[in-house]
């Protein structure tokens, strides 16, 4: 070992992350006998697997509020052969999970389990997709428990703020802006749920995404259980939902008179992924509030101590989107926090972005993507995002290029286009 004294003030040499080559691992694509497409990533050392069925059965397709979410939740609660308990026990016995989620355009079922048990459990998933029964008593329990959960959630300022800001941005009639209420749950009926299931699941359009340690007969298994079912070749056209944004833009709400914090949301309508500004805006967003070293975090948490955390993000919707700043701050410093957020936007519009700060953001972003391209579930997640947004692998490559090449001047232009105070809805819920 050398005897020279270590200079701890001197950072070690680094390879700039922007010099790293980022490759999105290629995806295998299969088509089952009935035309259903499967995207598959075979990677990872652990013998685990994830299978996701994405149906075009989100709340954009429902005619009555809450039906899509209820169908998604209750799909697992009984078939003509098995009770809800028996369905759950089937997955649990093998240490497997079948989760379901309902989003705006899509609703999914996600299976996680050990690869060795895949074949034992696919018949159960098939049964749910062909023969879910939706018993009346299961709906009644769902209604009761969801209303209870809602009552608790409505006591939380952050939940109330998230609901309201979406209503302001899109309007209550828009799928992105509607929220479930007690009336939504009371209005559910089993007939509508069964019809929705029949149209959007049994005979709906599905895409399948698989990742992990894949068995050699994966195609054969999927084809046997899902390749013979009567799914549609393409999704149904989505009903059109015009935006009906609220006025005025500045709102203050007291949800709990004794609350010690306020949930702050500043949000503006935004473009979707197909717009040429979107990828640059993601870099700008990172700099503004997208990571721990962002300007908002640096100023409002690390300098002023107004909050435990503050973030900004671009909503991940397929159609319209929004650019949102979100934090919970001390009740007495909420207005000061909002002033500082606008001040940071102003600085981005009017000041020059220092080279070293831009380099840090770029390196951080590339490093994060590099780490994120590591696991099979993350890789398939990126592929799914491309497929559902109607994009190809070149979009990923383009976004990496944007991160590496975008200049401070281009970011300043974007800030002038989008980070404009007057365009933002402003909400505080105490």
């Amino acid at each position: 070992m050398s005897q020279t004294i270590l200079n701890r003030k001197q950072p070690p040499r680094i390879k700039d992350a922007v010099e790293f080559e980022l490759q999105l691992k290629a995806c295998d694509v299969y088509t089952l006998d009935n035309g259903v497409q499967v995207w598959a990533i075979n990677a990872g050392a652990e013998e685990v697997i994830q299978v996701e069925w994405v149906f075009y059965a989100g709340n954009s397709y429902e005619e009555k509020d809450g039906i899509a979410a209820a169908a998604s939740f209750l799909i697992k609660n009984g078939t003509s052969l098995k009770t809800a308990f028996e369905v759950n026990e089937t997955f649990d016995y093998y240490g497997a999970y079948l989760n379901r989620n309902c989003y705006n355009e899509t609703a999914n079922l996600v299976f996680h389990g050990l690869t060795k048990h895949l074949e034992s459990l696919m018949p159960m998933v098939q049964e749910l997709l062909t023969d879910a029964r939706f018993p009346e008593e299961e709906l009644a329990i769902y209604q009761q428990n969801m209303k209870q959960r809602l009552a608790v959630n409505l006591k939380k300022c952050d939940v109330v703020a998230n609901r309201l800001i979406d209503e302001y941005l899109y309007g209550k009639a828009h799928p992105y802006g509607k929220n479930h209420t007690v009336e939504t749950y009371d209005g559910l009926d089993i007939q509508s749920i069964r019809e929705f299931y029949s149209r959007y699941y049994q005979q709906g359009h599905v895409k399948i995404f698989v990742a992990g340690y894949l068995p050699s007969n994966l195609y054969e298994i999927l084809n046997r259980y899902f390749g013979q079912l009567p799914f549609r070749a393409t999704p149904e056209a989505e009903p059109q939902h015009p935006r009906t944004p609220a006025t005025p833009k500045k709102q203050r709400v007291i949800n709990d008179a004794n609350g010690v914090q306020g949930a702050i949301r500043l949000a503006r309508p935004f473009i979707n992924r197909h717009h040429p500004d979107f990828q640059g805006a993601q870099v700008l967003n990172t700099l503004l509030g997208g990571f721990f070293g962002s300007r908002l975090m640096d100023n409002i948490r690390e300098d002023k101590g107004y909050t435990y955390g503050i973030y900004s993000f671009l909503q991940n919707h397929l159609q319209d989107s929004a650019w949102v700043v979100s934090t919970e701050a001390g009740r007495e410093v909420c207005e000061a926090t909002i002033r500082e957020v606008y001040l940071e936007m102003k600085k981005l519009r009017e000041g020059t972005i220092p080279e070293d700060e831009l380099m840090m953001v770029k390196n951080y972003l590339i490093g994060t993507i590099l780490g994120d391209l590591d696991g099979p579930f993350q890789i398939i997640g990126r592929w799914k995002n491309l497929v559902l947004n109607g994009l190809t692998k070149s979009y990923f490559e383009e976004s990496v290029r944007t991160i590496k090449q975008i200049s401070g001047k281009e970011l300043t232009e974007l800030a002038n286009r989008y980070l404009v105070e007057e365009d933002f809805y402003e909400l505080v819920v105490v």
Partner: protein, 422 residues
């Protein structure tokens, strides 16, 4: 099977290296053997506040995060009642940056007034966000005080009250640092696309000259065995009555731990578990119910908690819970149910081990327990648990005198409370 190499530096720092060259990344994980249980009762929340200060600059480096982000890395940390863990992930080529940063803050912090001042406020906001401004947010503060009369698990990691954090002084910070944040009290794990020889070289170079410090000897008051059931009722402005009940359990390192873990899964782990099926689905007394445990290093708690369906009396709900516990005490579980929760455990372990970051964290944790190698024999220990052991453990856990019950009732007042001992 998670393979690793292990060596100890001359200053006592334990180093574990787990090589996985399938990833382009490296993970550096530093675990300090100090948690909220090591705090003074009049200065609670300190271990956690301290974790925040670890990002406020060290003796030679003004800020921690920036150089890491420049190197394409990201990081975080957490504090529990038992330990404090710091981890970062970055491209393996830039591994040395993590050594530079982590070693400097083990050497000494900058101890800046500004950082303390700001982080006191940040932690106060964290306290409000998670514990004061959320319905039922203070339930565990009440429960911990009921369960522990002597042991410092009496308080949450965030602290007993805001004033403890607000009153923290720089001298306290310094004393805490030099007592606990030293090589002899730390475990370093380096994982990912790394090689042991290179890690050894970097560890010697960056950590080798840090003074060892004095091995901290923990001497905590043990919690005396509880012989009479205790209960407390709290009324607050929440929409639903909530029920919390806990029982004292063995420590994480006890052989009986595995049976306890499986029992909580049978009772409350998911949609086919006993409590969910019987009390949410069949009897409809609860709108949700969970059973879990605190697998803490000193003896912890098994918990049943749930929210009641409106109109159900909390006494009736409690009786129904007790009936289920009576069932599992009286009748041995069948092999299929036992197999189910063992399979679940196997599956969870496989999923956890997918990420290098998790593997690094687990190695550090098992090394703290005594030997990182134990990570690889864990599943075997679960597999060996018998139905007889499950029954014996249920009888031991759910015995009269071993429980603490909290009724958290929907009321108008923002927080009134009464305590009674039965």
């Amino acid at each position: 099977m998670i393979k690793f190499d292990r060596f100890v530096l001359s200053n006592g720092l334990k180093v574990l290296v787990h090589q996985d060259n399938s990833t382009p990344m490296a993970v550096v994980n530093v675990l300090y053997d100090v948690g909220a249980r090591d705090e003074d009762a009049s200065r609670t929340g300190f271990a956690h506040l301290f974790e925040h200060l670890m990002f406020g600059g060290s003796v030679n480096i003004p800020v921690y995060d920036e150089p890491l982000q420049v190197a394409g890395g990201e990081n975080n940390a957490y504090t529990t009642n038992d330990l404090t863990n710091y981890y970062c992930q970055l491209p393996a080529e830039n591994l040395e940056t993590a050594f530079w940063l982590e070693s400097d803050r083990m050497l000494s912090l900058a101890f800046s007034d500004k950082s303390l001042d700001v982080q006191r406020k940040v932690v106060s906001e964290e306290f409000k966000e998670h514990y004061l401004n959320k319905p039922y947010g203070d339930a565990w503060m009440h429960m911990r005080e009921l369960v522990y009369t002597q042991h410092p698990y009496r308080w949450m990691t965030i602290g007993r009250e805001l004033s403890h954090i607000e009153n923290a002084r720089l001298e306290d910070v310094k004393r805490f640092f030099f007592k606990h944040y030293t090589p002899v009290n730390a475990i370093l794990v380096v994982a990912g696309n790394v090689y042991t020889d290179h890690v050894r070289h970097l560890a010697e170079k960056w950590f080798g000259d840090i003074p060892p410090g004095i091995k901290y000897t923990r001497n905590l008051p043990p919690e005396p065995e509880q012989t009479r059931d205790r209960r407390k009722t709290v009324e607050a402005a929440v929409p639903l009555d909530a029920f919390y009940k806990t029982w004292h359990m063995c420590s994480r390192t006890d052989d009986r731990y595995y049976a306890v873990d499986l029992i909580t899964d049978m009772l409350g782990g998911g949609a086919s578990s006993r409590l969910y099926q019987r009390l949410v689905k069949e009897k409809q007394l609860f709108s949700n119910i969970d059973c879990y445990h605190f697998g803490s290093l000193d003896p912890g708690m098994v918990v049943v908690e749930g929210k009641l369906v409106k109109g159900v009396s909390i006494e009736a709900a409690e009786t129904a819970v007790e009936e289920e516990l009576e069932q599992i005490k009286q009748h041995p579980v069948d092999e299929r149910e036992l197999e189910k929760v063992k399979n679940k455990t196997e599956s969870i372990m496989a999923f956890e081990d997918m990420s290098v970051m998790n593997r690094a964290g687990s190695l550090a944790f098992y090394e703290l327990l005594g030997d990182a190698q134990e990570m690889n024999t864990e599943l075997e220990k679960y597999r060996k648990v018998t139905a007889v052991e499950i029954q014996e453990e249920c009888r031991r856990l759910f015995r009269t005198g071993n429980s603490n019950t909290l009724y958290y009732l929907a009321g108008k007042e923002s927080s009134t409370q009464q305590t009674q001992t039965k």
